[in-house]
C-alpha cells in the first residue's frame, strides 16, 4: 500500500511487538494469571504435638518446621500453645521451633499451623550443597561387604545421579548376602538409608536424608524419608525404597538430617500428627499476599503497586482507550455518526454510575427536557454564553429534582445521577439542538441514537470484568491498541454506511 509508509509500518511493528513481548513476559516468565478467576491452591497444614509432661521438670519441646526455601512460600505461620514460650531458630538449613515452659503436667497439646502456597514466580533460586565428604568409618565384615557391593556399582554408573540410583537399587536387593549383612535383618527405610549413606560415603558422594510431607488433603500421614545428593548444580532426590528419582511436586520438605522430628525434654510419649486441607484463592490476591512474604516483588512495578484507591481509579482509566477504540471503529469502519468525537466515551463513563438502562433513560429524559428548554430560549434571542449557562443550570436543577423524587420513591439509584457529568449533558443538549436546527430533526435523532449506541457499546465493553482485569494487569496491551489505532489512521477502505450511501452506483451497473 502506497500510503502505509515504511516509517509507520516500523512504528506499528515496534509498538505491537513491544506490547506482545511485555505481555508475554508477564504471562509466561512472571506467571501472572491471564484471568481473574484463576485460582491457586492454598494449603493449610496443622501439626498437632501431644505428649505427657513430667510433673516436676521444666518442659522443652523442639520440633522441626519447614524451612520454606524451596518451591513453597508461607503466607501465615502460627504456634498455638498455652503458657509456653516460643522461639524459632535456623540451623543447617533447617528451622526448629522451641516451646518451653517452666512447669507443666499431664497431657499437653501444642499446635503448629502453616498456610502455604506454591512459590508464585518460577524463578530458580541458586542452591548450594556439598560435593565431597569423608568416608564413614567401617570395620570388619561390614567393610568387606560394603566394598564387595561398591565394585559393581562403580562399574554400572557414570555420574553422581546414576551412582546413587544404582546404590539404592543394590541395597533394595534383599537377596544379596552383602546387603543382608549390612541391613542386619532390619529392612525399614531408615535402616536402608543408613546403609546407602554408608556406601555412598565410601565413594565420597555426599548424601542427605530429607523428611517430607505429602500435600494431600484429609489423609493422616507421617513424614516420608527421601535421600538427596548434590551434583554441583542441583539437589537430586531419591526414594530409598524404590530408587525412584525426583521429588514429586506435592512433597513439602520439612527437615533434613538424621535427627528426629521432635525431641521432648521433661516429657514422654511425644507424638506428632499431621492434618492438612487445601482451599483455593484468587491467584492475583494470592500473589499479592506472597509478595508481602517474600523478597520477590515482581508486582511492585505493576499497577498493583499503587494504593488501593488509586488502583480503582486506574481500573477505570485504563479502559478509556478501549472505549475510544470502540468509537474509532464505529466511526471510521462502520460510519456511525456521533455527537462530537469523544462525547460517547464520556457518556459511557457516566453510565458507570447509573447502570446502563437507567443511564440511557436519564440521558434521554434530561436531553429531551433540555432540548425543549433550549428551543424555548431560542425565542428569547439570547447570546450563546448566557443561553448555555441557563441550560446548564436547568440541567442541574433537573438532576436535583430527579434525585429527590427517586429518593422519596425509595429508588436509591436515582441518587447516583448526581455524578452524571452535567457539563457533558449541557454540551450534548446544545450541540444536538444546533444539529436539529441546521440539519433537521431526523438527522439530530440519528446522531443522538448513534451517540447513545456508541456510548452503550463502549460502556458494555469497558465493564467486562475479564477485560478490565486483563488490561489492568497487562497494561502493555495498550501499546498493541495504539498500533491498531495507528494503522486505522491510514485506513482508506469504505465505511460500512458508505456501501449503502453509494448503492446507486451498483444499481446503475445492474
Amino acid at each position: 500500500m502506497r500510503s502505509l509508509t515504511l516509517h509507520l509500518k516500523v512504528l506499528i511493528t515496534v509498538l505491537v511487538l513491544l506490547g506482545v513481548l511485555v505481555t508475554a513476559y508477564q504471562i509466561f516468565i512472571l506467571g501472572i494469571p491471564v484471568t481473574e478467576d484463576e485460582t491457586d491452591d492454598l494449603w493449610n497444614i496443622d501439626a498437632k504435638v501431644e505428649f505427657v509432661a513430667n510433673a516436676k521438670d521444666p518442659v522443652k519441646v523442639q520440633m522441626f518446621v519447614p524451612p520454606l526455601n524451596r518451591d513453597y512460600v508461607s503466607l501465615n505461620e502460627s504456634f498455638i500453645s498455652n503458657n509456653y514460650g516460643v522461639s524459632v531458630n535456623r540451623a543447617d538449613g533447617n528451622r526448629k521451633v522451641t516451646w518451653s515452659a517452666r512447669r507443666a503436667s499431664s497431657n499437653q497439646t501444642l499446635y503448629y499451623r502453616l498456610v502455604l502456597t506454591k512459590r508464585y514466580s518460577n524463578e530458580k533460586t541458586t542452591v548450594k550443597g556439598p560435593t565431597f565428604r569423608d568416608s564413614l568409618a567401617v570395620e570388619g565384615p561390614e567393610k568387606v561387604a560394603a566394598e564387595a557391593l561398591m565394585a559393581p556399582i562403580r562399574q554400572h554408573s557414570a555420574d553422581v545421579e546414576t551412582f546413587v540410583s544404582e546404590t539404592i537399587k543394590r541395597v533394595n536387593n534383599l537377596n544379596d548376602d552383602n546387603v543382608k549383612l549390612l541391613l542386619a535383618g532390619d529392612t525399614s527405610s531408615m535402616k536402608k538409608a543408613q546403609v546407602i549413606d554408608l556406601l555412598l560415603s565410601i565413594a565420597h558422594v555426599p548424601m542427605e536424608k530429607v523428611h517430607t510431607i505429602r500435600l494431600v488433603a484429609d489423609t493422616p500421614q507421617t513424614p516420608e524419608l527421601w535421600l538427596r545428593s548434590f551434583n554441583g548444580n542441583d539437589w537430586l532426590y531419591f526414594n530409598p525404597d524404590t530408587g525412584e528419582q525426583g521429588l514429586p511436586s506435592d512433597r513439602l520438605l520439612w527437615w533434613t538430617g538424621d535427627d528426629n522430628l521432635i525431641t521432648v525434654d521433661g516429657g514422654k510419649k511425644a507424638n506428632v500428627t499431621f492434618s492438612m486441607n487445601n482451599s483455593e484463592m484468587n491467584a492475583i490476591r494470592l500473589a499479592k499476599l506472597t509478595d508481602e512474604n517474600t523478597d520477590a516483588d515482581f508486582l511492585e512495578y505493576s499497577l498493583y503497586g499503587l494504593p488501593l484507591q488509586t488502583q480503582q481509579t486506574f481500573m477505570i482509566m485504563v479502559m478509556i482507550p478501549i472505549g475510544v477504540l470502540v468509537i474509532l471503529v464505529l466511526r471510521n469502519l462502520i460510519g456511525i455518526q456521533t455527537l462530537g468525537t469523544f462525547t460517547p466515551v464520556l457518556i459511557a463513563l457516566a453510565f458507570r454510575e447509573t447502570q446502563l438502562g437507567f443511564g440511557i433513560m436519564l440521558f434521554t429524559v434530561i436531553t429531551a427536557l433540555g432540548l425543549s428548554l433550549r428551543s424555548y430560549l431560542e425565542h428569547l434571542k439570547l447570546q450563546m454564553l448566557p443561553r448555555l449557562s441557563v441550560v446548564l443550570t436547568f440541567v442541574v436543577v433537573l438532576i436535583a429534582a430527579i434525585s429527590l423524587f427517586s429518593h422519596k420513591l425509595g429508588l436509591e439509584r436515582g441518587l447516583s445521577v448526581a455524578l452524571f457529568p452535567m457539563v457533558i449533558l449541557t454540551m450534548t443538549i446544545e450541540r444536538l439542538s444546533i444539529t436539529w436546527e441546521e440539519r433537521g430533526g431526523g438527522h439530530a435523532m440519528k446522531v443522538a441514537i448513534g451517540t447513545l449506541f456508541a456510548a452503550s457499546l463502549a460502556h458494555l465493553l469497558m465493564m467486562v470484568p475479564e477485560l478490565v482485569y486483563f488490561v489492568f494487569t497487562f497494561p502493555a496491551v495498550l501499546l498493541i491498541l495504539v498500533g491498531f489505532m495507528l494503522a486505522m489512521g491510514r485506513y482508506r477502505g469504505y465505511r460500512l454506511t458508505e456501501l449503502v450511501r453509494f448503492k446507486a452506483f451498483v444499481k446503475a451497473d445492474a
Binding site: 434571542k381 477502505g493 446503475a508
Partner: protein, 326 residues
C-alpha cells in the same frame, strides 16, 4: 454479508472514493493545516481573491464586535438586497439573504418578513460563534447578493444554484451544479436536500443528477430535465477554479462558484474537505481521476515543467471531458 463484499468490490472497481480514502490520501496529504484559515475564513479568502484579481461578490462590510452591529445601517446604505454570512460558517449555515426591504422591515429571499432586531440578533449569533466550526468567536460578513443567471430559472427552486469543482493541485477533477430545492430551503447543500448535477468538464453540458443519494434526471419541484443543459461561460468557470490553487495553496479543494446575471462567474467560497456526493452526480468515481492527475504531475515533475491555470484546464478537459451519458 456477501452482498456487502460485492458492493465493496463494485465500488472499488468503479473508483468510488470513500471518506477514509479522501481524508488519508488527499485532504491530509495535499492540504497543509496552516493554510486552512485561508479557506475556512471567507473574509480572508475574499481578500486574497481580490488581491489576485479573481472575481468575488463585492464585500460591503465586516462586523467584528457587538458594538459594531450599530454600524449595520451605515454598511447597508441604501441597498435593497444583501447577504449576511458568518466568516467561518460551515455548510451554508447561518447565512441570511435579504432580497428586499420596505419601511423598516426586510424580506428574505424565501419571502419571510423580518425586523431589524432579528437581523441584529442573527449577527450577534454569528459573532458568538454559533455557526462557526468549533464554536469560536466569528465575524459577520455583509456582501453583494448574487442574482442567478436566468438559465437556472427552470431547474432550480429559489436560492442560488452554485457550481462546485473539485480541484487537485490546480487541475479540475470533477464538476457539479448544485440546485436548491423546496426541501433544501433555498440552500445549495446536498445533505440539506439540494440536487447535485454532474457537469462535463470539457463542454459544460450537464449530466444526470443526484438527490438524496439517488440518481435522478428531473428537478423534483419544477419537473424540468436537469440534464443536457449548457452552462454558459464554462471555460471561465474552469479557469477560475484552476487558479484557486495559487490563491490558497491547498492541493485538494472544492471551489464553489456562482453565475451572476450581471457579473458572470464569481467565487463564493473554497472548501478544504469537499464532499463525496459529486461522484453520484457524475455517476463516476473520483479515485481514477485523481490518480490520473497524480500520474500526470509525476511526469511533469520528471521533466521539470510547471503548467499555468489555462494549461491545467486543457489537460483536465482532455483527460476527463466528453463523457457520454449512459
Amino acid at each position: 454479508m456477501f452482498g456487502l463484499i460485492k458492493t465493496w468490490k463494485a465500488l472499488e472497481a468503479r473508483g468510488i472514493m470513500g471518506i477514509n480514502r479522501r481524508n488519508a490520501d488527499y485532504v491530509l496529504k495535499y492540504n497543509k493545516r496552516h493554510l486552512y484559515p485561508i479557506v475556512d475564513d471567507k473574509i480572508i479568502t475574499k481578500e486574497r481573491a481580490i488581491k489576485a484579481g479573481i472575481h468575488v461578490p463585492e464585500m460591503y462590510g465586516i462586523i467584528e464586535t457587538e458594538k459594531q452591529i450599530e454600524k449595520l445601517d451605515q454598511i447597508i446604505g441604501n441597498r435593497n438586497d444583501f447577504v449576511i454570512k458568518p466568516a467561518q460558517g460551515a455548510g451554508g449555515d447561518g447565512i441570511m439573504v435579504i432580497a428586499d426591504r420596505f419601511e423598516d422591515r426586510y424580506r428574505t429571499v424565501s419571502g419571510k418578513i423580518i425586523s431589524h432586531e432579528e437581523i441584529e440578533h442573527q449577527i450577534s449569533s454569528i459573532l458568538t460563534g454559533l455557526y462557526s466550526l468549533g464554536g469560536h468567536r466569528d465575524r459577520a460578513l455583509i456582501e453583494y447578493r448574487v442574482t442567478p443567471d436566468q438559465i437556472f430559472k427552470s431547474i432550480s427552486y429559489e436560492g442560488v444554484p452554485d457550481i462546485r469543482i473539485i480541484v487537485l493541485m490546480g487541475y479540475p477533477v470533477m464538476a457539479m451544479l448544485r440546485l436548491p430545492t423546496r426541501q433544501s430551503g433555498g440552500k445549495a447543500n446536498l445533505h440539506q436536500g439540494a440536487i447535485g448535477v454532474g457537469v462535463d468538464l470539457a463542454t459544460g453540458l450537464t449530466l444526470r443528477g443526484t438527490w438524496l443519494n439517488k440518481i435522478i434526471s428531473k428537478h423534483p419541484d419544477t419537473t424540468n430535465a436537469v440534464d443536457g443543459v449548457q452552462l454558459p461561460n464554462w471555460d471561465g468557470f474552469m479557469k477560475l477554479a484552476a487558479s484557486c490553487y495559487e490563491l490558497c495553496g491547498l492541493g485538494y479543494i472544492g471551489v464553489d462558484m456562482v453565475l451572476d446575471q450581471d457579473k458572470g462567474p464569481l467565487i463564493l467560497e473554497l472548501n478544504a474537505r469537499p464532499g463525496l456526493n459529486i461522484q453520484i452526480a457524475n455517476d463516476c468515481g473520483l479515485t481514477q481521476r485523481t490518480h490520473a492527475i497524480e500520474a500526470h504531475l509525476e511526469a511533469l515533475a520528471k521533466d521539470g515543467v510547471k503548467e499555468d491555470a489555462e494549461q491545467r484546464v486543457r489537460v483536465s478537459q482532455g483527460l476527463f471531458g466528453h463523457v457520454h451519458p449512459q
